[in-house]
């Protein structure tokens, strides 16, 4: 196994990924967002199709909105809208971006896997094994069943937690903190603090049990 990158090289590399993603894709990097899109594939695919159709045909979209408004609020509301019609002629705001189909998000997630696989093979870090690491097995106290169960439960908390918080290490931790977004700074402080607390407890239990 080769040595990992020193902090300055890793930091610059990771920072370049964050900046590169923002510039190339045009959105802030956020992996848990991609997870959500992939996990709710059917709904997201339908939404992306509708958004694409609307972008293709703004006139049809406007007619559809008008028909809905008529059905919901009646003639008066439409007449009121008529006075504001020129406003609707403005070009789409810059914030309205091309819709991203869930398949693109899946490609992103699978590419993370592929990139890591390639790099691991090149660096000589690739070694198939059924456990995560010796230390993890020791901390999880044991049998393969316990190791896999702890990973599943940990993953469950990661899934629920990141969706609840609206971001993860990449979305809040990297992109959000790099924009000095208050919500992201708070989220990052919270998940680091809880990870530190849990890790310290695991470590203490391990040492109390006679581990190194």
């Amino acid at each position: 196994m080769t040595e990992y990158w020193p902090w300055w090289l890793g930091g610059l590399g990771l920072g370049a990924v964050v900046v590169g993603f923002r510039l190339l894709v045009g959105r802030p990097l956020g992996v848990s967002g991609s997870w959500a899109k992939v996990a709710f594939w059917r709904r997201e695919a339908a939404a992306a199709r509708e958004a694409a159709a609307m972008a293709d045909n703004r006139a049809a979209a406007q007619d559809a909105f008008l028909a809905e408004t008529l059905a919901e609020f009646g003639e008066d509301a439409v007449a009121q809208l008529g006075m504001e019609a020129p406003a609707a002629e403005k070009p789409a705001p810059a914030a309205a971006r091309e819709a991203v189909p869930p398949a693109a998000h899946l490609v992103f997630l699978l590419s993370i896997f592929a990139g890591a696989l390639l790099m691991a093979v090149v660096a000589g870090d690739f070694s198939p094994r059924l456990e995560l690491s010796d230390l993890h097995t020791a901390l999880a106290a044991g049998s393969p069943w316990q190791v896999w169960f702890s990973l599943f439960m940990g993953g469950l908390m990661v899934g629920v937690g990141t969706q609840m918080a609206g971001g993860c290490t990449s979305g809040h931790g990297l992109s959000g903190c790099a924009m000095f977004a208050p919500t992201s700074l708070l989220a990052t402080a919270a998940f680091f603090a809880s990870a530190v607390a849990v890790s310290l407890v695991l470590e203490l239990l391990y040492r109390a049990g006679g581990g190194a």
Binding site: V19, R22, S150, A165, C177, A190, L202
Partner: protein, 138 residues
């Protein structure tokens, strides 16, 4: 098609960089969280500092949009839950793919957990929590 290529290129770069940093190595991550080895912490802080500098420059020079995530009641409890899980499985949503790329087959359990968790949260949110997250869906 172009969109797919962009996502693929960034995914490959991210996976490769994360592998070389050692962010997918449970031992390294655990040592960061118990403060016995600060290499990963410095890596993370430098990555944030570097991107913050570039983003700040782009905002000043090119008028890049400032897009902070909105605050809502789920931010803190969600992050605490996430940190709890991260300490146990050594993976955040990107890292699980890096672990699988390194041949850590056990990360399949983490993958299944995250997928279930992501879907489970949507149900919890729609049925019980229902606060405004500032975006459509979640």
């Amino acid at each position: 098609m172009k969109q797919y290529l962009k996502y693929a290129a960034m995914g490959l770069a991210m996976g490769a960089v994360l592998q070389r940093i050692g962010f997918a190595d449970y031992d390294e991550v655990h040592r960061m969280f118990i403060f016995s080895d600060l290499r990963l912490l410095f890596t993370f802080v430098l990555a944030v500092a570097f991107s913050a500098t570039v983003f700040f420059a782009l905002r000043l020079l090119r008028g890049m949009a400032y897009e902070p995530k909105p605050y809502h009641p789920g931010v803190v409890p969600g992050s605490i839950t996430f940190g709890f899980g991260w300490a146990i499985c050594g993976a955040c949503p990107a890292i699980v793919f890096v672990q699988l790329g390194e041949g850590k087959i056990a990360a399949l359990a983490t993958l299944a957990g995250i997928l279930l968790g992501v879907r489970l949260y949507r149900v919890l949110h729609a049925r019980y929590l229902q606060w405004d997250t500032g975006s459509c869906g979640i």
